[in-house]
């Protein structure tokens, strides 16, 4: 593209008073050129042919403001990313550049001055999810002096990290580093912890959210309960419910605390197994509780909170190899038995088995008969990197946790053999590669490169059919126990929650960041931030880093009393509105309200749409849906777009 011909060419278009070129228009001298021209030629609008508006639109608008014209009377023709950098042919790209400038000229001629919208900010933060990311974010925000509401759907905070035995690459005890932080959350005066609760509705917009939270009935009066645990020991129901904290490797009573260090240390009654809810009798817990904290009639309650910013830290779940329902996007692993072999377990189950507080008190025993497995096979990439089963991505942490688990196994079963079937070892991280090498070199873990095709049971052993693709040899291992490094996937209700709170998500259900490089913790919805594995698979340090970053962004937001918003919002021409309210149906933000139009007698003769400018985010879906074209989006109105089309 030949820049030097541009000023002369575009000068010819009607309305153009002055045109020039400069190498770095965004630099100070460049901006000064603009300001001088505005003064000298008394310009009322400017077009900059430069890089993408996403880069320097703000710069040029500020320059315009300082020269005294409205910032929205500036249009950018994207001549760099959309023209010079992508086209080799000089002639055609020069033509394209002229046309792009022309389109911008036609648009700017029809632009109208706009003023920014000011909105107040509520100085309270909602953190959704009480895993390590949520805990970190809540503490950081609270320590900055802002109020935090921390919502956790389980009876206790702690998340997956509380289930882990040791952490890679240091092999330090997971609970030992986590529980102090949990206690800190519990005792922090600025943090209101709502455990066993879920967010059911989010209304409003940045700085002004109204959040409805459902507090599920624990059937325990939290104010009265002292957490003595007597009810739990006396509960007659002992073996009817699987202990989900122990990944179903143990049982729990009908009234239970998920694990000893739980925060809050208050039990929950599981209505599905409790005898009282089945027969109306029992009530043993009531009898033993000397503080009368048991309340069978407790109902779910709804709380509404005014919130300024939201941090979403809802975490992940593990892919289970079970057969999936027909409409599921996942398939399950029939070749690994769809989970019918009891000694084929997943990574979290192994964590519980290896954990000193787990069902085997840390001794490695297989679930079927409690024997110590002498030969153990770990299979990586179960679920992940598998287009056919529905998950194409790399789950990122499995290489490391499998190496750690194999190491833990070898440390506990000295005469045991550990095999790891892998596809690639992805150990990018501080001390990670060294850690994996240590497993191989010091602990004699055998790595076999190749995906396992099938697992089946034969005489109490599990036959693992694999192929060593490096040696080019088929491999069959008779293992006593198999650990599947199943992938991290989004929580079951991730998509529903995303729709509730209004954040976009990808095809898997992970929440989308606003910009993959420069805005990694912001969601695309203003005022909602992301932390931890709800955004993509992450290990603990990454989750914590992201949580602190999100907290920091939130604090920045809350540090000012009002917010300025772009005035790109829709407005209804009430005279012409036919009141069909398709705009109300399509508005993703509920910004459209019904407004009554009354006659002189005060009788409503017409209902029209009204757009709440504070709520409108400016997508313009209503404008295209409106049949009578009574809505216009400021900054992108139809006249402007028609002019652009006409200028083609």
């Amino acid at each position: 593209m030949t820049v030097r011909v541009l000023p002369g060419s575009v000068k010819i278009f009607s309305g153009v008073e002055y045109s020039t070129d400069y190498k770095y228009m965004c630099s100070d001298p460049g901006q000064n050129l603009i300001k001088e021209a505005i003064h000298k030629y008394r310009l009322d609008a400017i077009v900059v042919g430069s890089c993408s508006p996403h880069m320097h639109e703000r710069t040029f608008r500020n320059a315009a403001v300082s020269a005294g014209i409205n910032p929205f009377m500036v249009e950018i023709a994207n001549l760099r990313e959309h023209c010079s950098w992508v086209h080799d042919d000089i002639e055609s790209s020069t033509h394209k550049a002229i046309e792009l400038v022309r389109m911008a000229i036609e648009k700017v001629k029809r632009d109208k001055p706009l003023t920014k919208i000011n909105v107040p900010v509520t100085k309270r933060v909602l953190v959704i999810g009480g895993g390590i990311a949520g805990i970190q974010a809540a503490l950081d925000v609270a320590n900055a002096g802002y109020e935090v509401v921390l919502v956790e759907k389980e009876p206790s905070i702690g998340g997956h990290m509380s289930q882990l035995s040791e952490t890679f690459p240091t092999l330090d005890c997971s609970q030992c580093i986590l529980t102090p932080r949990m206690v800190e959350v519990h005792q922090h005066p600025k943090i209101k912890l709502l455990s066993y609760s879920e967010v059911v509705k989010v209304e409003g917009f940045i700085g002004n959210f109204k959040v409805t939270i459902k507090k599920k009935a624990r059937h325990i009066n939290e104010d009265l309960c002292s957490g003595c645990g007597l009810c739990i020991t006396k509960c007659p129901i002992k073996k009817k419910a699987y202990n989900s904290f122990e990944e179903d490797l143990a049982f729990r009573s009908a009234i239970y605390i998920p694990f000893p260090q739980a925060i809050p240390n208050i039990p929950v009654i599981d209505e599905t197994v409790c005898t009282y809810y089945k027969t109306g009798k029992c009530g043993m817990c009531v009898k033993v509780c000397d503080r009368q904290a048991i309340d069978f009639d407790q109902k779910d309650t709804m709380l509404v909170a005014d919130i300024g910013a939201i941090i979403v830290a809802t975490g992940f779940k593990l892919y289970s190899i079970d057969k999936k329902s027909a409409d599921s996007k996942y398939k399950g692993y029939g070749e690994y038995g769809y989970g019918k072999y009891r000694d084929v377990i997943d990574g979290l189950q192994f964590e519980r088995i290896a954990s000193a507080s787990g069902p085997t008190s840390g001794e490695i025993k297989r679930p079927s008969d409690g024997k110590e497995p002498k030969k153990i096979a770990f299979i990586q990439c179960v679920g992940s990197r598998d287009d056919s089963k529905g998950i194409s991505y790399c789950s990122k942490i499995c290489c490391m946790y499998t190496a750690k688990q194999a190491m833990l196994y070898k440390h506990k079963v000295h005469d045991g053999e550990a095999y790891i079937f892998y596809m690639d070892i992805r150990a990018g991280g501080k001390m990670y590669e060294e850690f994996v090498r240590r497993a191989i070199e010091e602990d004699d873990v055998k790595y076999i490169r190749g995906r396992v095709s099938r697992i089946y049971e034969k005489n109490g052993k599990y036959i693992v059919k694999g192929e060593d693709t490096i040696a080019g040899m088929p491999v069959e291992i008779e293992a006593d126990m198999i650990v599947l490094a199943t992938a991290m996937i989004p929580q079951d209700n991730a998509a529903d929650l995303a729709r509730t709170i209004g954040v976009p998500y990808d095809k898997y259900g992970f929440y989308n960041e606003s910009h993959p490089k420069l805005k990694p913790v912001e969601s695309t919805t203003a005022g909602i931030f992301l932390a931890g594995a709800c955004q993509s698979p992450k290990d603990i340090p990454e989750s914590v880093a992201m949580a602190s970053a999100a907290a920091c962004k939130t604090i920045i937001l809350l540090s000012s009393d009002t917010l300025e918003r772009e005035p790109v919002v829709a407005k209804v021409n009430e005279d012409l509105c036919a009141g069909c309210f398709y705009c109300k149906k399509v508005c993703p933000f509920g910004a459209v309200e019904v407004k009554d139009v009354k006659d002189i007698n005060g009788i409503v003769y017409k209902e029209v749409a009204y757009i709440n400018q504070g709520v409108c985010q400016g997508c313009g879906t209503c404008t295209a849906t409106c049949l009578s074209k009574s809505i216009e989006l400021a900054g992108f109105n139809n006249e402007e777009i028609f002019a652009e089309i006409a200028a083609l």
Partner: protein, 295 residues
Amino acid sequence: MNYGYFPGCSQTGSAKEYDISLRRVIDKLGVSFDEIEDWSCCGATSAHATNHKLSTALAMRNIMLAEQQGMESIIAPCAACYNRLIMSQFEIANHSGVKQETEKLLSSKFLKDIKVFNVLELFLKIGINKIAENRKRELSDLKVACYYGCLLVRPAAITKFDDAEQPTSMEKIVESTGAHTIDWNYKVECCGAAHSIARRDIVVDLSKNIIDDARAHGANVMAVACPMCHTNLDMRQRAMRRKYPGHEEFPVLYLTELIGLALGMNERELGIDLHYIDFKYADSALENSIANKMG
């Protein structure tokens, strides 16, 4: 529904009893079908192993015939034929080039969507309770290893009727005869298929594994729904014994024969006497005791 019947070449020769028993059983259950007139080879194995276009054209010729003869669906009892037919249909449906080419070869156009059923789908369609209702014999002393082989349920995305790794539809059918089924590991392992003649050594090894696993899980008979599987599992047992002297005979029946027995037919009627491994059921003393019990 107007079923067309595509027997497949084996059913006219080495798998004659499959054809016989299928016809008898279907008749007993009050269902009928018309054999596709002038059907030809489905293009299985040799054709599709060496020349894809040829095999697609061969398969689609039969589907075209069925369409021209006014049939809406085809029963293909041989798993290999079934697989060939649906795979060819899939190719035709998904790759317009293949469709045009094949239409040109056959100088006719495909207008209708002919549904191809395998024998399991057929019985599920007829309804397994119908088998149970018409049961004359309780086969409760049989512990059946249901062997699907490779081609009945694969690829699951195209066959779309049962799980490719842990299928259960044949079990449901077999249980309707009163027989017991066992859970075992080699349901969908390959028997060596078309290597039966050229690489008998492979077939003998693979089939031996299958029979051993069935026996180890407590089965006393195996049910199959594919003539190739039957050839390998039944006929090759003699070769098996030569290679593995300790090998004991293990009866392998067609699914249709098993149902036939339950419906009260005897071995000769069903062609079980044509097997290499003897299987006497109807004549046994058990038969009498059951008859007494029922009668």
